[in-house]
């Protein structure tokens, strides 16, 4: 008995020693210390994580953590007072505003980056390098009978169309269906869904007739093997790019990524204020690190001034499609 006990105690003891021994001692640095708790969308999460990392390099006594329980999950944490900063890939919904009000929580809403949902096809697909919104709608609307590219536009080859898209729980799905079909969550269901965008990338790479949509960053990282589809609108044909997403010409598939700050945490925790000011001072570097489109000087000023004035409430009326940074800037002037 004792010998077996010793054999079992050895690894457990080793775990403990390792666990204890690995703790980082608090080191010297700036005077700012304390916890910063961040949560919310897994789309915005990488931006907050990059901000936390760069911020902690300069402020080693602070402890910033980023959990990713989704946009809705993040708002629940905000309501419960369990998060200081929540990332969101869509604006706060009216019923969530109601819950926040009931809990007595005021929030400051600021844009943090831009994202452009990008429609992609196989690199060898030479015909569909641009599509109209109407054509996209006919492909994706509920009950769509489009099974071949020849049904999309006369002149396209009779190649079977293979669709890949976001899982129905994601903010990306909500936004794409609203912008393309016109109604949130309205989509045909005979496509291959995945919450993992890398699965969608692999799907279109392997299918000549493949078509998918996902965040711009996944296209940017796979430019060599995928082709993006430009959107033909009334004001011309626009391909997704950093510039087009930022200036709002790539519409309606551009969307602002947002951050909601607990106002009380902002007022009472200097470390929360410091992290946010770091996030906007180094917006370009941080957002690019997370593979999104930075805000640009004007919108950074908007965010900073909203924080400074502690402007509470939402600039949006629930989820809207096709909001450009321009619209946000104009709305702020009113």
């Amino acid at each position: 008995m004792p010998r077996t006990c010793a054999l079992l105690a050895l690894p457990i003891g080793a775990l403990f020693v390792m666990a204890l021994g690995c703790g980082d001692g608090a080191s010297k640095g700036s005077g700012i210390s304390g916890e910063i708790v961040m949560d919310g969308s897994s789309t915005v999460g990488p931006i907050l994580a990059a901000a936390a990392e760069l911020f902690q390099e300069e402020n080693p006594n602070t402890e910033a953590t980023v959990a990713m329980s989704g946009t809705s999950g993040g708002f629940k944490k905000l309501v419960a007072g369990e998060a200081d900063i929540v990332g969101a890939s869509r604006p706060v919904k009216p019923e969530e505003i109601e819950q926040l009000k009931e809990a007595g929580i005021e929030f400051i809403e600021v844009p943090v980056a831009m994202d452009g949902l990008t429609v992609v096809v196989n690199k060898s697909n030479t015909w569909a390098r641009s599509l109209t919104l109407d054509e996209l709608r006919r492909i994706w609307e509920p009950g769509s009978k489009v099974t071949s590219w020849s049904q999309v536009r006369p002149g396209f080859p009779d190649e079977p169309i293979k669709l890949f898209g976001a899982g129905t729980d994601s903010g990306t799905f909500d936004y794409f269906t609203l912008a393309v079909v016109g109604k949130e969550k309205a989509s045909r269901d005979d496509y291959t869904p995945s919450e993992d965008d890398n699965v969608l990338v692999a799907g279109v790479k392997g299918e000549l007739g493949g078509l998918a949509y996902f965040g711009y960053s996944y296209f940017e990282s796979n430019k060599d093997s995928l082709a993006s589809v430009a959107i033909q609108g009334e004001s011309g044909t626009v391909a997704p790019s950093y510039a087009a997403i930022l200036d709002g010409t790539y519409t309606p598939l551009s969307r602002p990524l947002l951050v909601y700050v607990n106002k009380r945490a902002y007022e009472t925790k200097p470390q929360v204020r410091a992290l946010l000011s770091h996030l906007f001072e180094h917006n370009d570097e941080i957002v690019k690190l997370a593979c999104y489109v930075p805000l640009g000087a004007e919108a950074v000023k908007l965010a900073q001034s909203r924080l400074q004035k502690k402007r509470t409430g939402s600039m949006f009326h629930g989820t809207q499609a096709g909001i450009s940074m321009r619209d946000l800037l104009d709305a702020e002037k009113d």
């Binding site: 994580a49 402890e63 593979c291």
Partner: protein, 288 residues
């Protein structure tokens, strides 16, 4: 003549069964080796010292598994400390001390058996409500470890019960006949002979806890943490969450990091199973 043809058909069926079993084994092994091969190819060159001394990062070149590995170890320690004493004691009570054919006892027994099949996410929600909010432990290692302890508790109880059942009644009867008390019988006869099987069960349960992700995400394990956890009330992340996070990343470099981290997790699991095998073989040798 008829007898011959019947035995021919029977022999054929026997041979067919043999071939089917063999084919299943080969298919299973092929998938396992293909998976391992891909992982080793992508992940093995990333396994250097730096990989173990760095934590999660937005720069692939600066990222490592330190905070996730330490987080996993902390959670597992709490899980073992909380679940093993309670689980083993429950099993001893149910097998040795509780009155047989009691309606309450059989109700408890049925519940324990059912609990072993409850989806892990349900334990996560329970942990969030009870440990994080009611006991106000926050999103800490303690809350995560206790939630995992609940998850593996039914498993440990059932395995320990089976181990105790396998102890020959003659051992108990002999001890009692020599005037030993019930406690002395359990301590000096039943537990030592059941030990090998109990330890094996415990380690398999713990291996399950190491690989679980869903309940910990619900309890509030984070995806990014800059510091290594320093105590049971620290916030934390664990290896499976770090792996998940890296596989979702758009950049190719992070997929190689994920492969390396999976190798670390596999090594951890294999060494735990190795310890279980070792203890098992030692205890069998001694009782034989």
């Amino acid at each position: 003549m008829r007898l011959d043809s019947v035995s021919g058909a029977r022999r054929f069926k026997g041979a067919l069964f043999h071939v089917l079993c063999l084919a299943s084994v080969i298919v299973a092994c092929l998938f396992l080796f293909a998976l391992l091969g891909i992982l080793v190819k992508d992940g093995v060159q990333g396994l250097d010292v730096k990989f173990f001394t760095r934590s999660g990062s937005s720069f692939a070149s600066r990222a490592g598994v330190k905070s996730a590995l330490v987080g996993s170890l902390w959670v597992v320690c709490i899980t073992i400390l909380a679940s093993v004493p309670v689980g083993v004691a429950t099993a001893i009570f149910l097998e040795e001390l509780a009155p047989k054919k009691n309606r309450w006892i059989s109700l408890i027994q049925t519940n324990i058996n059912n609990l072993a099949g409850v989806p892990s996410i349900v334990y996560g929600l329970l942990g969030l409500a009870v440990f994080v909010r009611m006991f106000d432990l926050g999103r800490s290692i303690l809350a995560g470890g206790l939630t995992m302890a609940l998850l593996v508790l039914p498993l440990i109880i059932v395995v320990t019960q089976e181990a105790i059942k396998a102890v020959p009644p003659s051992l108990r009867e002999g001890a009692l006949a020599l005037g030993a008390t019930r406690w002395q019988t359990i301590r000096s006869q039943v537990l030592p002979s059941a030990r090998g099987n109990i330890v094996t069960g415990v380690i398999l349960a713990v291996s399950r806890a190491i690989g679980e992700t869903a309940p910990l995400i619900v309890v509030g394990a984070v995806s990014y943490i800059g510091r290594v956890p320093s105590g049971v009330m620290s916030k934390f992340t664990v290896l499976p969450i770090q792996i998940f996070d890296w596989t979702l990343h758009p950049k190719e470099d992070f997929k190689r990091l994920a492969a390396s981290a999976i190798l670390v997790l596999l090594a951890l699991l294999l060494s735990l199973n190795g310890i279980a095998l070792l203890i098992r073989s030692r205890s069998i040798r001694r009782t034989a």
